[in-house]
């Protein structure tokens, strides 16, 4: 499609949808309503929204949808760390019921017993999976979960009178950037551990940095490299001995279900992304839910309310003595709770373990084959990867000049997602692949074939790769500074009309 910007579809007088009428009797009683407003607050000029008929609006967005390569459409391996798995349609159907969508968050508890029951049941499942004692589903994402945990760390130390003294949080470079960022928002100084030569976080370095200033230690395990820190229990022990709280970013939990748990590794808190490990759809980037679990001693610090069972009734318990308050309005994103619970129930304990095992098997199969591609490597220890791997094209770039960004654009031609990694590129020319349990062997083979083909191209005809894409919805974006020059960036259409068109006019 060569679909215009929505504003270009404007036809004065057209209308996309009609609204319920206002009965004549009401108009007779109160008049036009608008003139009741204070004159200074009456809007003088209408917002310049486009006027478009319903059919055309629908056509526009349907076409844009087709230009979006959702996980349902491709062999979704390339967005490593994101755990792109199959989001079952039956769960969508269940979540689309008015019994879910048409609930107001302040309805009397007696009228939402079904939803509260599902929430509580999901809590019980999460406890089994993690070993934690209580869960809150209020956080709206992994990042917000990390922020919530940092908040709890602070509240915890404050409750012990050590709030000011403990002002450092330790993390690792191969953990998600949000770990560091959210702790910093909470006022913490960040200490980042770099890996040893095998890619493991360095226990000796940890011992060097812990002190009476240590508030907490946050880490993913496995990290974004897919390497599981075998000495994790020693890490948590060292931190605990220094008086710190250990909290666990379980964004990378897909290879661990039923295999190993946060509790036994010594963590005080952990969270899971329901939209990763528990299959709720990614929705172009939310809404989503982080399931945040804590050990018993931290329950009173949770954001409230939490759902509990009291006799045969489910209640919202807001009576949490040290609660950090709230991190998201109302009860978070409950429709994801329903989806995640449905997913768990469609697998059972055995199925969950299958998830972990197959995810790890798929990843190791992929790893095995990617390493055979000329120019590709996986830095750090050989093997020992769980559910994902951060690879490098360092050699290929050196030998051909083709970068990981070039390959990313070329992969679009093959209708594959391909993600490099978070900045900074600690691994040079990185790419991060995570096949979940949802991909079949044929899917993996297809993805491997595409990468192999492109690597071959890079050696034989590097320009071909560098000038990609060829088959995408659009051609290559003009290489200028449209995104970093304040004079030229345009974050809205109105801004574009003002700036860019103005510039063009002057030029021509």
């Amino acid at each position: 499609w060569d679909e215009p910007i929505i504003f270009e579809l404007h036809n004065s007088g057209e209308r996309g949808v009609s609204l319920p009428k206002v009965e004549c009797e009401i108009v007779e009683c109160v008049g036009d309503g608008v003139s009741a407003l204070p004159a200074s607050l009456i809007r003088k000029s209408a917002p310049e929204l486009p006027e478009i008929s319903q059919n055309r609006v629908l056509r526009h967005y349907l076409r844009l949808s087709q230009e979006t390569l959702g996980a349902a459409f491709n062999v979704e391996i390339g967005q490593g760390t994101c755990t792109m798995k199959y989001s079952p349609k039956v769960n969508e159907e269940i979540a689309a019921s008015p019994k879910m969508t048409e609930l107001h968050p302040l309805q009397d508890e007696s009228t939402v017993q079904g939803l509260l029951e599902v929430t509580h049941k999901l809590d019980l499942c999460m406890r089994e999976i993690s070993g934690m004692d209580y869960f809150s589903f209020q956080p709206g994402s992994g990042t917000q979960s990390l922020f919530t945990m940092a908040s709890i760390v602070r509240a915890y130390h404050e409750s012990k009178g050590e709030g000011d003294q403990r002002d450092e949080i330790i993390t690792t470079i191969f953990s998600h950037p949000s770990q560091a960022a959210t702790a910093a928002v909470k006022g913490y100084k960040i200490i980042t551990l770099y890996p040893d030569k095998d890619g493991f976080p360095d226990l000796e370095k940890l011992k060097e940095v812990v002190s009476e200033r240590t508030a907490g230690f946050v880490v993913a395990n496995p990290e974004d490299t897919g390497i599981y820190n075998t000495r994790i229990k020693e890490f948590t022990k060292v931190v605990h001995e220094a008086g710190g709280v250990c909290y666990y970013d379980q964004a990378n939990a897909n290879g661990l279900l039923g295999i190993t748990r946060a509790k036994e590794a010594g963590f005080d808190m952990c969270f899971f992304n329901l939209h990763k490990t528990f299959s709720t759809p990614h929705a172009c980037g939310g809404p989503a839910t982080g399931a945040l679990g804590v050990v018993a001693k931290l329950k009173q610090f949770l954001p409230g309310p939490i759902v509990e069972k009291q006799g045969n009734q489910y209640i919202l318990n807001s009576d949490l003595k040290h609660s950090i308050g709230k991190v998201r309005s109302f009860q978070g994103v409950p429709q994801m709770i329903v989806r995640a619970y449905a997913w768990i129930r469609s697998l059972g304990a055995e199925g969950l373990k299958d998830v972990a095992e197959i995810a790890v098997l798929n990843n190791n199969y992929l790893y095995h084959h990617i390493l055979k591609i000329r120019g590709a490597s996986a830095p750090y220890i050989k093997g020992q990867r769980l559910e994902q791997v951060r690879y490098s094209w360092e050699q290929l770039t050196r030998e051909t000049g083709v970068s990981t960004d070039d390959i990313s654009r070329r992969m679009a031609d093959f209708a594959h997602q391909y993600w490099t990694s978070h900045h900074p590129y600690v691994v040079p020319e990185p790419f991060t692949l995570e096949p979940t349990e949802s991909t079949s062997k044929s899917d993996l083979d297809e993805y491997i074939a595409s990468l192999t083909h492109i690597a071959k191209e890079a050696y034989e005809n590097p320009e071909k790769v560098k000038n990609a894409p060829y088959n995408s919805s659009i051609h290559r974006v003009d290489e200028q500074d449209y995104f970093d020059n304040p004079e030229k960036w345009a974050i809205t259409w109105r801004s574009y009309l003002k700036k860019v068109k103005e510039v063009e006019k002057i030029r021509s």
Partner: protein, 466 residues
Amino acid sequence: MKELKKIAHPYIPNTVPEIKDQMLKEIGVKTVEELFAGIPEELHYREEMNISKALSEYELRRYINGIMSKNISTTEYLNFLGAGCWNHFVPAICDEINSRAEFLTGYAGDPYEDHGRYQALFEYQSLMAELVDMDVVNVPTFDWAQAASTSIRMASRITSRTDVLLPKTISPDRLKVIKNYCSPYLTVSLIDFKEDSGQIDLDDLKNKLSSNTAAVYFENPSYLGFLETQGQQISKLAKKHGAITIVGVDPSSLGIVEPPSHYGADIVCGDLQPLGMHMNYGGGQSGFIATHDDIKFVQEYPSRLFGIAPTVSEGEYGFGDVYYDRTSFAQREKGKESVGTQTALWGITAGVYLSLMGPNGMYELGKSIMQKSQYAMQQIGSIPNVVASRFESTSFKEFVVDFSYTGKSVKVINKYLLDNGIFGGKDLSEDFPELQQCALFCITEIHSKDDIDHLVSMIKQCINSK
């Protein structure tokens, strides 16, 4: 025909034993167990999780729908609750688009794989920008509370100051989020309101403004439903002290009410939920932030901001991240706050909604809400001993009803209404000690005259019952 062999789980293709074996063989490993060798034995969980056996799709549907059927939804009962989550009309097209498999399962692809997602979000930014009449709008954050929190931190970074002033009439839910997000380094103080009108007490504001005030934040309409008419004065006072004015706004009002940028707001934030999102027990919330196109402001956004640029093909547009180096993705703890999965799908949906409504639809929406809520206030207010609205100011959509002269508590009245199939207004007694036995009622375009009349007669019945 022979008995069935073990079959794979529909969601996990490679549970097929033969394929599993083949893959293991190919990578030179004997058992799947070996792949987990990196996990120390003591950490291996050897028990069985207490999670019931797998349900088939039909059983699952019947089981969960069975539990969920215990809920009573607002399509079954008449709903007059608002208080931050509102019962609006959701056009069917909004659901059609946000349930399209492409958007539903899209995530963080690049501009070439996900051109449609980029364009849809850029268009959302652009449409919202018209509504608030400002040039920059972000990819949505979690909710209004988060949008307000981030706006405040942006102001703090811009001014290098740490005090913020909020109105005492703010939503308690929102306040909790803001307080936690601002602690420990920002100081939040509340400004009094005038008892009769609910309007911000300008004297109190003047007293509290100082050279360390980063921002003055207020809401229009306020949490309690009335419109704040002193926007211009407030922003002037703030400016005089070098503070930034932040206004939280309900976008459903902006077809008829002046956008805050017109009375001096530097940052505007609010919730998109009224623009096409089902309530979802609060899961439809989505926060937006808007500013002018001033690099001082733009560089402080933690959010992604999508920009437009030409492609090498004449007349074609592409999209990308503006000033990506601000973000925590690029900078980790050095970035601006943090970014991650938030509520992008609701941004796309709000874009669909605004495209359908256009300026005339938004005008009609505002007008219809004004008419219906004024009618409701008039009718409720005409019940003996019931005061509606508690405040003298003009209300939009929500208003405070004072039952304190009826001899009945809000709790009792709401129980009566519930028994008669009505969700009554939000009880304010606990959160606002000065508003004992007051309730916040919400009327939107979906309420018919019959709905309102029915509510009124039920309240009457309740009050007259002994």
